[in-house]
């Protein structure tokens, strides 16, 4: 089978991307960028536009000119048209629709009484998936893009592996036990509930088994992994995937709205999404929709999500034993073999990069989410791009403001931290920094006083450039994966989620979502 289609679209999309990058670089689009407030993304626009556009132009020319023959080259190069298609949609959504929607949300606020863009979470993640759903259901994914769309899961998996770079032992130690306990209760509980209910309703054991793994563990991957264990038929896998995707899509839109309505913080929402949403991709979607301009929620959600994925081997063993017991005469299942062949390697990749990150090769080992404290002269006195020396110690006028307002500070620890700051003209420890952040948050001093404290804070807090780069890359891999995911959600797959599997899957899913919401609200605090 020859996969390369003789289409001009890859070339056209490539030219559009290159032209866009050039216009941004030359400053011709400055007015538009200023209007949309996307100036900080200008570097990204130029770099990604040239890279993806350049590759698409070369491939597009090759597709039009060269003679194609069946083989690996044809197969893998045929994905580039689809990848370019997804990236073009991601560009339009992220750099155009997203900021425009935010502007419209603000503009309509006086009339509506609320910011509809914020309330409905109409950000680039949600709009990207919606764009994918609209394309596949209204226009159909073009044949030349089909292979590229099939790379979206690879994008999501790569994003999950790279996410490992953002974690360190200190962080996981804080969340680890709680995530294991929470996930353990809800994963094992929902698997058990589906198995019990499915048996009562006399669903086939294979259907019940694959549905329980899908609803309990990590959605589509778990359903696919558990299928051979319970010898599920392809229609049963399709039913389960349809149920999971439909329920997951609803969750992805509803969770962030509920989270915002309840005033949840990044950690509580991340814990809830990671526990309550069925499918890994939709966990990421909900977390990014809740916090589109940062990655803290996504990180917590992914810790819970990864913990959930780690339960897969336990579920696989459980299902194997359950199935063998129930199916008299079922073929013998080699549990050890199933474990070795089904354990998701990308989870091992995540753990590998997490271990590397914990050694401090990407940021100082003591980093917290890529941020770290350093008050040495090496960072306090730096040179700017023009070679001019920039001194970040507090200046005399700053110190005068602090001395003048010092009397307003009453707590001993805050007084002592302020005293040390004034004496040394810089913050001397993380504790002092945290203590004085409390003074700023409590608005004890005037605006000027707070500005000086914030200046001192910024001088000693740094973000590791490598971790910042990883964050950007992760966001793009997830955006790519989620737009592609949207293109796989057809009305047919949604309709397939009918009948009893839908009812059982949805009810157990709702129980899990509501139960985990209650437990998370009670047990998880914004403590880190």
């Amino acid at each position: 089978m020859v996969y390369t289609k003789r289409t001009p679209w890859t070339l056209i999309m490539g030219l559009i991307m290159v032209a866009y990058a050039y216009l941004v670089q030359s400053g011709a689009l400055e007015a538009v960028i200023k209007y949309l407030g996307t100036g900080r993304n200008a570097g990204e626009m130029v770099m990604l536009g040239y890279i993806f556009g350049g590759i698409a132009v070369l491939t597009g020319l090759w597709q039009l000119i060269a003679k194609t023959a069946e083989g690996h080259v044809d197969y893998y190069l045929s994905t580039i048209g689809g990848v370019t298609f997804i990236m073009l949609i991601a560009f339009i959504v992220k750099w155009g629709l997203d900021p425009q929607m935010a502007e419209w949300g603000k503009a309509a606020q006086p009339a509506l009484g609320f910011n509809f863009a914020g309330v409905m979470n109409l950000n680039y993640v949600v709009m990207g998936i919606l764009a994918g759903i609209v394309i596949v259901n209204v226009f159909k994914v073009p044949d030349w893009a089909a292979n590229g769309v099939r790379l979206s899961r690879l994008g999501l998996k790569t994003g999950v592996i790279l996410l490992g770079t953002l974690y360190s032992f200190a962080e996981l130690a804080q969340l680890g036990q709680l995530s294991v306990a929470l996930i353990g209760v809800f994963v094992l509980g929902s698997v058990g509930l589906v198995l019990w209910w499915g048996s009562r309703k006399n669903l086939p054991n294979s259907m019940t088994g694959v549905l329980s793994a899908g609803v309990g563990v990590c959605g589509v991957s778990a359903a696919v992994a558990a299928a051979p264990v319970v010898q599920a038929k392809s229609t049963e896998i399709a039913y389960t995937i349809g149920t999971i995707l439909m329920f997951g899509v609803i969750c992805m839109f509803v969770f962030p709205i509920v989270g915002k309505a309840l005033g949840m913080g990044y950690i509580t929402f991340g814990a809830w999404a990671g526990t309550g949403i069925l499918n890994s991709a939709q966990v990421a979607g909900a977390a990014l929709a809740f916090q589109p301009n940062g990655i803290e929620t996504l990180k917590v959600a992914e810790i819970f999500n990864i913990t959930r994925v780690l339960f897969l081997p336990i579920i696989v063993i459980w299902l194997a034993i359950w199935y063998v017991k129930r199916e008299v005469g079922a073929q013998k299942v080699d549990i050890g073999q199933v474990l070795i062949s089904k354990f998701p390697l990308f989870v091992l990749g995540f753990l590998m990069l997490f271990l590397l990150s914990s050694t401090g090769i990407f940021a100082p080992a003591r980093h917290y989410q890529g941020a770290y404290f350093d008050n040495s002269d090496k960072v306090m006195i730096k040179k700017d791009r023009s070679g001019k020396e920039v001194n970040n110690y507090l200046k005399d006028p700053d110190l005068a403001v602090l001395k003048q307002e010092g009397e307003k500070v009453k707590r001993d620890d805050q007084k002592a931290a302020l005293q040390r700051l004034v004496e040394n003209k810089k913050l001397m420890s993380i504790d002092d920094d945290d203590t004085l952040r409390g003074v700023v948050n409590a608005k004890i001093m005037s605006k000027e006083g707070n500005a000086v404290l914030t200046k001192a804070h910024r001088a000693v807090r740094h973000t590791a450039a490598k971790i910042a780069m990883f964050r950007d890359l992760i966001a793009w891999f997830f955006t790519f994966g989620l737009v592609g995911l949207g293109m796989q959600i057809t009305m047919a797959s949604i309709r397939q989620a009918g009948g009893q599997p839908l009812v059982i899957g949805s009810v157990v899913g709702v129980i899990k979502a509501v139960g985990s919401l209650i437990v998370v609200m009670l047990l998880v605090h914004e403590t880190i």
Binding site: R153, P344, G349, K466
Partner: protein
């Protein structure tokens, strides 16, 4: 349905198996991590 349209992989992935896809994601991530480590 997927089998009719693609003779390699499935409707969800271009790779023959999940393990193959995981392996590619792993290699891609490690290459990216190495580049970031060396050049950023």
């Amino acid at each position: 349905m997927a089998e009719d349209k693609f003779d390699r992989g499935t409707a969800l992935t271009i790779f023959g198996t999940d393990r193959h896809e995981d392996m590619v994601a792993l290699i891609l991530s490690l290459v990216i991590a190495l580049l970031v480590y060396l050049y950023v």
